[in-house]
Subunit: 321 residues, 2 copies
């Protein structure tokens, strides 16, 4: 089955999940409603709901429960996006104005609060404490990741390990949890739950690293924002870290940073990183995570959804937009 | 038993709960740690933990579980304070600089996110889905209240009902939930759970109305901020609403508002409201809630904690600082 095949197969279920989310955020508060539906309509890949759906097939599948978990996780994803935009001072996301840009930081704050609250209400409809525990622990880690991001802004002395922990908390965790909770809610056996978590974690790490590569190599049209936006915001990612430590241009880069010329020479720095070995190195690391994700998937029961998980990891490994 | 007797009796347990909270927020993120402990040390009355402790006595008391619920609810209270200060643009709280004033809105946002996440992690340690459901529903309502507050800012056409719903969501709900969850976690019977909820709701309504009265009648020293701060921020409370609709000065007030002179004449307006029948009227409404709270308490089993709940409601009804 091709990737398009995967998406076609889950399309109807994703629509039902979107309807569930849409009903959750139907409020008579005008700004809140507009900001929330703005986020929902802006779309995105619904990758978390897809992972919940597919993972649910490795247990005793029950769409009503799977749908609740998927809606809850997508709501949490939306909540983190809108609070992240406040942290990042981001004006645009996927080519659209962010909530904080279109309204303001306050609206973004309470829209995020509200989406998170709705997510909690949705997940607690499922009467399995283990699910609530798993989710709340992850939310703590995700909050820490949000704060790591601020701490690490413009810090060129941060380690590679710092970067990896940050993207784990920022991205990989919620994807891993999507797989794990899809399996937990359908009472999959503990080994399967662990393997799906491992799949999700590795896919999530690869996903974010590739996102960070594309931020340098993509065009404004592909990205919906100018290339190098991460660095302009002070978010130092793997290609930049590698370029600083190991590329042929490392001395030049270090000189620019030490002379506090980063801001004035930001276009030059972005070009240097884009043309550096940092891109190839990051791609290699992403491929290692993809391979680990595939290994985890291959250890699962051989049902059609296993093939789909493999398709998705390949797609994520190869995506160029 | 006097009120001091009540506080002395729960003092040791409150210390243990504060320790539990303090351990929850021990993080190596410096700003986050400082902002969180700033909030914890700023103190407040720990009224929610006290209600959890006392309510727990009407069931099969287990301090370990009661402690977790109490710590979780106080963390949620702290989270709402720090996000409310962003919404209200508040510079001071209880005489101290707020997190948003001492750091900034971003730090306040993520500190609130983090405290809420820790609260969820704490409450989900108790494996009772009904508790998770009750709490998450209340969080949704509290978020809506936060947004009501913004919608109603400077709106002199808002109804009394609007005001009451807003303070329910803003204050009464979390106090009601403190009583309810204290009872639920100790497996009190459903009737007792409902009565304690009713007690908490009515005490909470009275508490906020009296807070809103004191904001007009208190001194800067008592309040830790200038009198009339609510109105200066655009938060129109019961004394102001009553003065506008029914006081002898209503025509003068209406003229000032209609001529858009509120800002320049704010000191005059505050004096008018302070001297109006709005204060007496609000006190009467508060007393009605106190009476309902006492009725609910009196319908409970006659254990020593019932007496303490009655003491607290009397104290809240009479407090003048």
């Amino acid at each position: 089955m091709s990737l398009i095949g995967v998406f076609n197969k889950v399309k109807k279920d994703i629509k039902a999940i979107e309807k569930e989310i849409s009903e959750s955020i139907s409020t008579d508060q005008r700004d809140l409603y507009l900001a929330s539906t703005h986020l929902l309509k802006a779309g995105g890949k619904r990758i978390r709901p897809i992972f919940v759906l597919l993972s649910g097939r490795f247990g005793d599948y029950n769409f009503e429960n799977v749908k609740k978990v998927a809606a809850s996780l997508e709501l949490i994803h939306m909540a983190t996006l809108v609070h992240d935009d406040v942290i990042d001072d981001a004006e645009k996301r996927r080519g659209d104005l962010t909530v904080k840009a279109q309204w303001d930081n306050k609206v973004a704050m309470y829209t995020g609060d509200y989406l998170l609250a709705e997510a909690l209400m949705k997940i607690t409809e499922i009467e399995k404490p283990e699910i609530h525990q798993t989710l709340s622990k992850s939310i703590v880690r995700m909050c820490e990741g949000e704060i790591d991001q601020i701490r690490d802004f413009n810090d060129w002395n941060q380690s590679f390990k710092n970067y990896l922990l940050r993207i784990k908390r920022k991205t990989a965790l919620l994807i891993a949890i999507s797989c794990k909770l899809g399996a937990l809610v359908t009472d999959a056996d503990p080994k399967t739950v662990r393997r799906l978590y491992r799949y999700g974690y590795n896919v999530g790490m690869a996903f974010q690293i590739i996102d960070d590569i594309l931020d340098f190599t993509g065009t404004t049209e592909q990205l919906g924002k100018p290339a190098g936006s991460d660095l302009r915001q002070g978010n130092i990612t793997l290609p930049a870290l590698y370029a600083l430590h190991y590329s042929k241009e490392k001395d030049l880069l270090r000189e620019i940073i030490n002379n506090n010329q980063l801001e004035e020479k930001i276009d030059e720095v972005i070009t240097i990183i884009r043309q550096s070995e940092g891109i190839e190195f990051s791609k290699k690391i992403a491929q290692q995570y993809i391979q680990k994700a595939k290994d985890a998937a291959l250890s699962l029961q051989n049902i059609p959804e296993r093939k789909m998980l493999l398709e998705i990891s390949d797609f994520i490994g190869e995506r160029s937009y």
